[in-house]
């Protein structure tokens, strides 16, 4: 009885808190100076429908480069500290360990999840997605595969190749901006234009840069998951 009263009190408390939040909330309508500049000139200069993407990739491109680097360093340190055992013996899986239905469902779903991840990072300048989000979705697919099948092995070689190539390509696209455009990571190359506003092929090289960021993030997080799984097996 006391427990039920406690539950009711907790629920009422939640209700009061959220009611206050909901009623007191007032949207900010005034823009600061910097935000005013972005809102006024962003769409014309960059050509992306999603202004956040323009800011993340172009106005603050160095910041994104740094974030990708942080993720890379984190992945390296995790794989450095985990004790890995490189034995390739296959575990015997009984029917109690994993269900056949989950394995089948994962085999159907994982390609679709990968496709959706690619869709998210290619449409980063139009929808509320982007490279980091798309990469995380791809890594979710890898996590599903690992969970469905305990004997699943990722080809680490491919992951490392994808990661290095996309990292180099990201910097290369930035340097191309110096040569053809107005500076490092400038997205509007001379003679290329920004394309028609609101279509997939607009906003210069933002979709391409975001694709590289997405591939790199997906590869790094998959690598972390893979390393964790390997260190689990050795216990």
């Amino acid at each position: 009885m006391l427990k039920n009263i406690l539950i009711a009190l907790v629920l009422i408390g939640f209700g009061v808190i959220f009611y206050d939040l909901f009623m007191v909330y007032e949207a900010k309508t005034e823009l600061t100076d910097l935000a005013h500049y972005y809102a006024k000139n962003g769409a014309n200069e960059i050509g992306g429908a999603n202004l956040v993407t323009s800011i993340v990739v172009t106005y603050r491109g160095f910041d994104t480069l740094g974030e990708v680097t942080i993720l890379f360093v984190a992945a390296s340190i995790i794989s450095f500290f985990l004790k890995l055992k490189e034995d390739e013996e296959e575990k015997v899986i009984g029917s109690k360990d994993t269900t056949e239905l989950l394995v089948t469902a994962s085999q159907v779903l994982v390609p679709l999840i990968f496709l959706f991840g690619v869709y998210v990072f290619m449409n980063g300048h139009l929808t509320p997605g982007g490279g980091f989000q798309g990469g995380s979705i791809i890594a979710t697919g890898v996590a599903l595969m690992i969970m469905a099948n305990p004997n699943f092995k990722i080809n680490t070689q491919i992951i490392h190749w994808i990661e290095s190539i996309s990292g180099v390509a990201f910097v290369f696209a930035g340097v191309l901006g110096v040569l053809l455009g107005g500076g490092f990571l400038d997205n509007t190359f001379k003679g290329l234009g920004v394309g028609e506003f609101g279509t997939l092929f607009s906003a210069g090289v933002i979709p391409i840069i975001y694709s590289f960021v997405g591939l790199k993030v997906g590869a790094e997080i998959s690598n972390i998951l893979n390393k964790y799984q390997k260190s689990q097996k050795s216990i």
Binding site: S95, T99, E100, L101, T104, A105, Q107, V108, V110, P111, L112, F114, L115, F116, V118, Y119, M122, L200, F201
Partner: protein, 164 residues
């Protein structure tokens, strides 16, 4: 068999890409073709999910039959659940029974299990070889043959036309 796997996987991915983008712009279609090819070669060169699928006008027609039957059973299941939940008192007789299926294809077994889960009163709790263990909210039959007859036969007959 391998080529068939690739073709089915490729077309599923391509349809999903077109549904997501909802346009027939040639560049987007080209990107979709390349991407679907890449992903299906990466994942489905060894996979066994779509093995035994039948392609052809008859299978196409039976897909619609399956969807119609499934919708009918889904609505029936929800009438059943609503009746059980809203009438006062517990009029349930739960039990776990065993049914036998002859389906071999992985995808067909997944669809069969999902259909059993979403139809009136039954829930797939464990899969072991050719036996499915079913949690039944109002146990009407314990015998394997009789339970199979009552639970799985409608869907199994349709799925046999779609997969072999």
């Amino acid at each position: 068999m391998k080529a068939k796997n690739l073709i089915v996987s490729f077309s599923v991915l391509m349809i999903a890409w077109l549904l997501l983008n909802w346009t027939l712009d040639p560049l987007i279609v080209a990107i979709g073709i390349g991407l679907s090819l890449l992903i299906s070669v990466l994942f489905c060169s060894k996979c066994t999910v779509f093995e035994g699928i039948k392609l052809g006008p008859k299978a196409f027609a039976y897909t619609f039959v399956y969807i119609l039957v499934f919708i009918r059973e889904l609505i029936k299941a929800n009438m059943d659940v609503t009746k059980r939940v809203l009438t006062p008192g517990l009029n349930i007789e739960p039990g776990i029974v065993k049914i036998k299926t002859n389906l071999k294809s992985k995808m067909a077994r997944l669809i069969l299990a999902n259909s059993i889960t979403l139809t009136p009163g039954t829930f797939t709790i464990h899969v072991e070889g050719e036996y499915f263990y079913i949690h039944w909210i109002s146990t009407e039959a314990v015998d394997i043959e009789e339970a199979t007859q009552k639970i799985a036969n409608t869907f199994e007959n349709i799925l046999k036309e779609l997969y072999e």
